[in-house]
Symmetry: C2
Subunit: 390 residues, 2 copies
């Protein structure tokens, strides 16, 4: 990821530009905490071509455990991009018409500066000396990238879960730069229950002696067990009870009878253990601490005098707020709060609740209705902007 | 707890008899796994007096993390009994009329034989060599205790959560011995989501290097951190989102602003950490593994040819099934499944869903409506049995 590389992929794959923007300076990125990063790398992918007017750019914001590989193979896992259903030629975010940008968040571990990187001031990995970051800090870094690309306005900013938080923050912090926005399966603040689940994950990581107070890299170890437990707990919250029941029920794994032991008798146990194991191969434990913390701190109303509508006072964008019936992590009530505030700000807002039993992660899955609605919404925003339909 | 001790407590406290029944023999307790315990201790409390006809006995079954101290001070924590609202003179389970029994479950750590105890065959603590137990094994041990007390029939068997599973197992395994039953906030089988949460807890314990493959006692250590994480994850499931929101919301703990660090900024974090810390002072880590496993294995229909109604074919008891609107761990749908099966078995069943936002743990809390209904139900069962009202 240290050098930019352009790849043409066959079939219906978009043109991918996999790059890193590097910024340096005493306050290369100023943070909400008052601290600053003197060196900032932003790892990002772009798909499709920016037009001459630079009016066809769409920013995709990723969720907690995802990254910039939205529509191209993840080099670490070899798996397809996490939103290939949505981003590509002829897809809702149509890369034959639009220029789609996706950047790894600040605090992440896929190329953008995070706790795993070397602190230029000490020559050592940051670990827990990395400053605590916020959703606004993530968005501030994205704005620097958008500046670097010479883009004044984004045709659309879209994302689910923590990605949706970033969308809301774009609407609040850069209202003049957002033409349209799609915050999905998200909330304007993290709830007590959500904070509680994150705290369990953090405590699981910190309880692992290989975490070493955050200095595991210096000691050549990694808190795999703690991070796996954190991922397992979180993963349950990404699925609905109905989805777990449908996928696994009480089915046994590779056996006819229970073992009367502590093996993974049930398929759901085996599945969760696999989720934990595979996560530690691709994610940094300290990044998990920092990014969950950023989500917990998110409270857009509190940042605007306690009234969410004020966050949207200067907003001109068309907004499509979306939720899923079976999402209990970011339930529809949270999306409705956002809609109410947008209405109170006389914003141009539509709201859609998708009927699915797949839970929070439904935004990553194949939902033709969702694809149709988001595609239509982006096309309408493009038409309003005078972009020709293909 | 090694010797029986009788205590008279002042005011409205019930007469407490705190005792241990000790049984020995090659198969003192035969288990579902095919294994057996050669020595069995059953630690139990009784409240009130058994009448001459031995017709006024009520068995209370405890939940996962509770014990036999239902209506008297817990000697380990110094806290009141966990169901003092329900059990005592003039309470729904009125100890001035009824003889109330509560025993620590097999596999537990409050005096009944469990993995912390010494295996008579080796002279060492069982650890993971303790046989895996089931809900039916727990109930089988309770039946031995009831035999020992000379009681043929129980006027009522009542309990919530895992206690409710035991109630259902009593109804299925000893239908001739149960006059009435109150299974509360429970299910006839553990769901995929419930198994998943338990598996996270077990993995957290096993990930703690101080667990030592279950042999921590031999090494003079204890997996406190892992057990605390397990408890934290479980505790979230005992409360509703609304209850967490009402109790904590996003309120900060002992500060005006977030710390931009990993302290417990939010009250809900501080609360969860406290729950974890206090649990490890009173509970055994291996007991937690065994008891969660017993709950996961529970599937009453599977034990009766796949049809839940068959489990209740010989049942004569009056049954009151109860659930709580905001309980997402054992939701009302699970209680309704039990009611449907009881109806299909032409059993004498009533069903009540209490409207509360307090979540699963509501059965432990002050709910006057619940107290009234359970008290009325037990009184009616007693009247049918010809017991005089006081």
């Amino acid at each position: 990821m240290s050098a930019a590389a352009e790849t043409i992929r066959p079939d219906a794959a978009p043109v991918v530009h996999d790059a890193v923007l590097r910024l340096a300076g005493p306050r290369a990125l100023t943070l909400d905490s008052g601290q600053a990063l003197a060196q900032l790398a932003i790892a990002y992918n772009t798909y499709g071509e920016l037009n001459a007017a630079k009016s066809n750019a769409i920013l995709i914001c990723h969720a907690l455990s995802l990254d910039q590989h939205a529509a191209s193979v993840n080099p670490l896992t070899g798996k397809p991009g996490w939103w290939e259903l949505m981003v590509g030629p002829g897809k809702p975010f149509d890369t034959s018409r639009f220029f789609v940008i996706c950047a790894n968040v600040v605090g992440g571990c896929m190329g953008t500066t995070g706790p795993r990187d070397v602190d230029p001031a000490t020559g050592k990995s940051y670990g827990l000396t990395f400053p605590v970051i916020t959703i606004r800090d993530m968005v501030r870094a994205q704005a620097l990238l958008v500046d670097h690309l010479g883009i004044a306005e984004l045709l659309c900013v879209a994302g689910g879960s923590m990605g949706g938080m970033q969308v809301l923050e774009w609407m609040a912090s850069y209202p003049e730069r957002v033409i349209s926005a799609i915050p999905i399966a998200t909330a304007a603040k993290h709830s007590a229950q959500n904070i509680a689940f994150h705290e369990v994950g953090r405590q699981a990581i910190m309880a692992d002696p290989d975490w070493r107070g955050g200095d595991y890299l210096e000691h050549g170890v990694f808190p795999s067990k703690g991070l796996a437990v954190a991922r397992m707990a979180a993963h349950i919250t990404y699925l609905s009870e109905a989805a777990l029941q449908r996928k696994f029920g009480r089915e046994l794994q590779d056996r006819q009878q229970v073992s009367y032991a502590f093996d993974a008798d049930f398929q759901v146990e085996s599945y969760l253990r696999h989720q934990g194991r595979s996560f530690v191969e691709r994610f940094d434990a300290n990044s998990y601490l920092y990014i969950t913390r950023a989500m917990d701190y998110f409270d857009l109303a509190a940042d605007h005098g306690g009234q969410l509508a004020r966050a949207f006072a200067r907003l001109k964008a068309r907004v499509c707020v979306a939720s899923f019936t079976s999402d209990w992590l970011f339930p529809t009530t949270e999306s409705k709060r956002i809609v109410h505030a947008l209405n109170a700000a006389a914003a141009n807002v539509s709201f859609v609740e998708f009927d699915t039993d797949k839970g929070h992660d439904a935004f990553l899955l194949d939902l033709p209705e969702m694809e149709g609605i988001f595609g239509g919404f982006v096309n309408a925003a493009a038409a309003h902007r005078g972009l020709k339909a293909t």
